[in-house]
Amino acid sequence: MTSRYLLSLIAVVALALFPLVGGGLGTFLATDVAIWALFAVSLNILVGSTGLVSFGHAAYFGVGAYVAGILLKNSGVPFLLALPMAGLAAGLLAAIFGFFCVRLTKVYFSMLTLAFAQIAWALCFKLNAVTGGDQGLSGIPYPDFLRYLDGVPVLGVLDTSQRFHIVVVVIVGICLALIYRILSSPFGRVLTMIRENPGRAEFVGVNVHRYQLAAFVLAGIFAGVAGSLFGIFNRGMYPDLMYWTKSAEVLIMVVLGGMGRFYGPIIGAFLLLWMNQELTAITEYWSAIVGLALMGLIFFLPGGFVDLIERGRNLLNARLGRGKAVQAATQEGAS
């Protein structure tokens, strides 16, 4: 258990220091992946843990971005305050939309989340005075405190966007740790019960709608934090952030990576953005290739890419003659 924490901590530090070796483009991609990873993991609170397939998760990402943008640009609120406020605003919106959505099941739930997200997108488009309409908001400042790195040895050489990468990785790391903690809590266990069998959960005393709503709000909060990071990273917010294709993209990441495991969506975010980057350089039909990859995955690896990793790990461990210990470890991970 402690070794897992230690490993995660090392991973976060290593990724945070990536700009030192990654260069400009590499760092840009790494920041992008980190933000989308948080966005995808937040969606997986619903899809993988609670069994609710939201098709409108971009709404909360977008609202987070806009709220952070407005607070930073117009009100001069400091970054470290704007970020949680953006998350809370997204959570509030999720509470309102979710109140209605959790009353529906299956495809009806998905459709209603989509409908609400499109309403949010349309409002964003029309409310010129607040959101800047289709022009969006631009010129969002980077956090002030990044200049303090000037005097720090080694890190002082990094430019502002590379410094912001460090901030992103640290915040994403903290959020992921929080989500992990929440999902392995008694609350998380109740979500699993709901995913597995809502009718039975109800009959051991679970108020299913209330827990589904709580999951919806949590997912919204973390999507909002991811969105605000994305807005600042992009130096602007546009209605496109909330468009349904963004909801689809993050859902693809979750499925591609694998919704059955905590780190699945992180792998999915990396894979999709990486494929996007590599394939657009080769062919303009890159999305067709992504489509084929997704098809292949659904047919041969329904558990997502993490399935492949897990199988490889099991095989390796079986070869090493530690089969039993591994099985116990995988079961622990699955719960």
Partner: protein, 256 residues
């Protein structure tokens, strides 16, 4: 009927009064009323489609009755939602097995305890080591200790039923409603399950209401038997009274 009422003698646990349920024009349950005495074992029997499951769903709030009331411990629980019923001490198992397939046997019971004891709102503590002793106790009482770490979805059918019983018992119910607890089991399994249920129910003084297709099992453990036919209660009494009832013989036990 009268003699059955005297066996408990310490008050009604569950009381149904003039319960009727219409589906469109179809009378699924027609003016059914009875009281269950505390600590007794009661069976509802009747041919397929007699309305046994509908009656269960009316008691547990899945359906709202068209007319009539359901009282538990003297308090009106008509149409109350299932998660509140279980807090009141009413446990239910389902005809089709109903476990959390991707959780282990241990985790199934543990999850039931977490939900029932209201720990679900705790977000920042770890769930893994909660209720270890209580969970193991339940597993022992339903005979699943050896399969604690098996995924519930991989259990044999009869064991899943046992697990479901365990989850229901984890809620420490005073009233237990079991819908076909032995459906799909072999004769040997049925016998074992019925024994298990009887032992647990007697030990804990639980009031049991169950439906069952295995007539032999019904007559072997029940204090009282209710016979339902086309939504109407046609007989209600001690096993030997029901066995002797002409109408029941004609419409249900006929062949035997």
């Amino acid at each position: 009927m009268k003699s059955a009422h005297q066996t408990g003698a310490n008050g009604a646990c569950l009381e149904l009064r003039a319960l009727t349920k219409l589906f469109g024009g179809y009378r699924a349950i027609n003016d059914v009323g009875f009281e269950l005495q505390r600590g007794t074992i009661n069976a509802i029997i009747g041919p397929n489609g007699a309305g046994k499951s509908t009656l269960f769903n009316l008691i547990t709030g899945h359906y709202t009755p068209t007319t009539g009331t359901v009282k538990y411990d003297g308090r009106d629980i008509t149409g109350i939602s299932p998660h509140r019923l279980s807090k009141l001490g009413i446990g239910r198992s389902f005809q089709r097995t109903n476990v959390f397939g991707k959780l282990t046997v241990f985790e199934n019971i543990q999850a039931a305890l977490i939900a029932h004891r209201g720990l679900g709102s705790q977000m920042f503590s770890s769930s893994a080591s909660l209720f270890r002793r209580e969970t193991n106790d339940v597993l022992v009482s339903v005979g699943l200790s050896d399969s604690a770490d098996v995924l519930a979805g991989l259990l044999a059918y009869g064991e899943q039923k046992q697990l479901e019983l365990g989850m229901t018992l984890a809620l420490d119910p005073t009233l237990l409603l079991l819908d076909e607890p032995t459906a799909g089991m072999s004769t040997a399994e049925t016998e074992r399950s019925i024994d298990l249920i009887r032992r647990i129910v007697r030990e804990r003084g639980i009031t049991l209401l169950f439906t069952e297709h295995d007539i032999h099992a019904v007559f072997s453990i029940s204090d009282r038997i209710l016979v339902l036919e086309r939504g109407t209660l046609i007989a209600d009494g001690l096993p030997h009274e029901v066995r002797a009832n002409e109408q029941v013989k004609r419409s249900y036990l006929g062949g035997k």
